[in-house]
């Protein structure tokens, strides 16, 4: 589904992604963890080309990512992305947030888009808020709307960049529950998170990154009980407290 080969990325002189090799199979849930600044967000964002890369290759279903223009937009519409800060459209209602892209990009009729949107809003449990504006919702509700907005494009993969890091503790679970359901439904997912219990539960593989490199790719059982590197062990220790 996603194949990343020998990917390198620089910000100026700063080498942020170093020889990254990673593939995510259809229906697989890959969780990326690692200390702050290790390049997790950057890696996630290169997959739908919100960040350009300097060398290497990214294949989506065997096809290289287009450079830009309409082809890139078309690929992006198939890759859902959920951000730490929700990023809902402030001037649109919850319902309009979910219908905008299906109408504009997929050329669905308003009626069809609306029906699908209501179904998705119900699925993430915010259908009763459909006519409100983002500012009127709690963080947890907004993030669930953001997930519904991505799902409305019927994506083949979903990328999550710390979807619960901006949330108050009591709202984290409502978002993780929605993501767990998605995983159970067979969605292909690439998730950056600091929620270790969630990672243990939901992931098929755990990727540990440090200083722009992937140090370890392992099953969650192995990774959390006997991590293969000292860096990973130190990291797991450090977040326990």
């Amino acid at each position: 589904m996603i194949e990343i080969k020998k990917l390198n990325k620089y910000y100026g002189d700063h080498h942020v992604l170093k020889d990254i090799d990673l593939s995510v199979d259809k229906g697989e849930v890959v969780v990326i963890i690692g200390p702050s600044g290790s390049g997790k967000s950057t890696l996630c964002r290169t997959v739908n080309r919100l960040e350009t890369i300097d060398s290497g290759e990214i294949l989506i279903e065997g096809e290289p990512l287009p450079e830009d223009g309409k082809d890139l937009a078309a690929i992006r519409s198939k890759i859902g992305m959920v951000f730490q800060s929700f990023n809902l459209f402030a001037h649109k209602t919850i319902l309009e947030n979910v219908t905008l892209a299906p109408v504009e990009v997929l050329h669905k009729s308003h009626a069809e888009a609306k029906e699908e949107a209501m179904r998705l809003l119900k699925r993430v449990g915010v259908d009763s808020q459909a006519d409100k504006y983002p500012i009127q919702l709690s963080g947890g509700q907004q993030q669930r709307v953001a997930i519904a907005r991505s799902l409305a494009m019927n994506p083949k993969v979903m990328l999550f960049d710390e979807p619960t890091s901006a949330l108050d503790p009591e709202m984290i679970n409502e978002v993780l529950d929605v993501m767990t359901e998605l995983a159970d439904d067979g969605m292909t997912m690439m998730i950056v998170t600091h929620e270790m219990n969630f990672a243990k539960q939901v992931s098929d593989r755990v990727v540990f990154m440090d200083d722009g490199r992937i140090l370890e790719i392992n099953t969650p059982e192995k990774f959390f009980s006997e991590p293969g590197t000292d860096r990973a062990r130190d990291f797991l220790e450090s977040i326990k407290n």
Partner: protein
């Protein structure tokens, strides 16, 4: 002359002058808002030459005095075999300068939009033009209602440039000169025009506030 005498003699001319000022203001507003939006889209476009040209445009028209621009239009254009009516010259001068300010206000509005929303739109597969039309411009306009309202008043005052050219019927400023060359209207003739400008500005301001309250986004 008293207000009463002035109005009984020149009342209908004042009405025509007011209508001329409104007409100039109306068309100048539409033209400058349209140009302002186009220039703003160019300024945020990914195409470098477009950005450069639009920045230059704004710098020029933000800084050129209205009277100079009008003189150029009236006296210089004919050398290029472009002869415009006086009305058109005033309209263009009163449109181009505010269009630069319009773009500045829209840019300020755009800068208040969280870049994360743009990234979200890109990640949903929306193209540059879809993002501009559906996400950026609607929000920029909402944030710019009050500045644009003030701009509309400024446009009306800029149309007083019409008094510098022979127009018939003339505008609210032109009529003061007209009266004072044919009779002794004095300061009173001017006060009547000023009153009409003020009332129009009040109405514009009131409407702007209403619209702002209706479309303003809570943060």
């Amino acid at each position: 002359m008293s207000v009463y005498e002035l109005l009984s003699e020149y009342g209908s001319r004042y009405v025509l002058a007011l209508l001329t000022t409104w007409e100039l203001t109306f068309f100048a507003a539409i033209i400058s808002f349209v140009i302002g939006i186009v220039v703003t889209v160019m300024r945020v476009s990914p195409i470098k030459p477009l950005r450069a040209v639009s920045e230059l445009y704004v710098q020029i028209f933000r800084n050129i005095p209205g009277a100079s621009l009008l003189i150029l239009l009236v006296y210089a254009l004919p050398y290029l075999d472009v002869v415009l009516s006086y009305f058109a010259c005033v309209l263009i001068a009163a449109s181009l300068i505010p269009s630069a300010f319009c773009s500045e206000y829209l840019m300020a509005g755009i800068n208040t939009i969280d870049p994360g929303q743009i990234e979200a739109a890109r990640s949903l597969g929306m193209t540059f033009s879809q993002i501009i039309r559906k996400v950026v411009i609607p929000q920029a306009l909402r944030f710019s209602v009050l500045p644009l309202t003030n701009l509309l008043v400024a446009i009306m005052l800029t149309t007083a440039l019409a008094s510098q050219v022979p127009l018939n019927p003339t505008d609210l400023t032109g009529i003061v000169s007209h009266i004072n060359t044919h009779a002794v209207g004095g300061i009173t003739a001017f006060m009547i025009s000023a009153f009409l400008y003020c009332m129009t500005a009040l109405v514009i301001g009131f409407a702007g506030n209403l619209i702002d309250r209706k479309v303003r986004l809570m943060r």
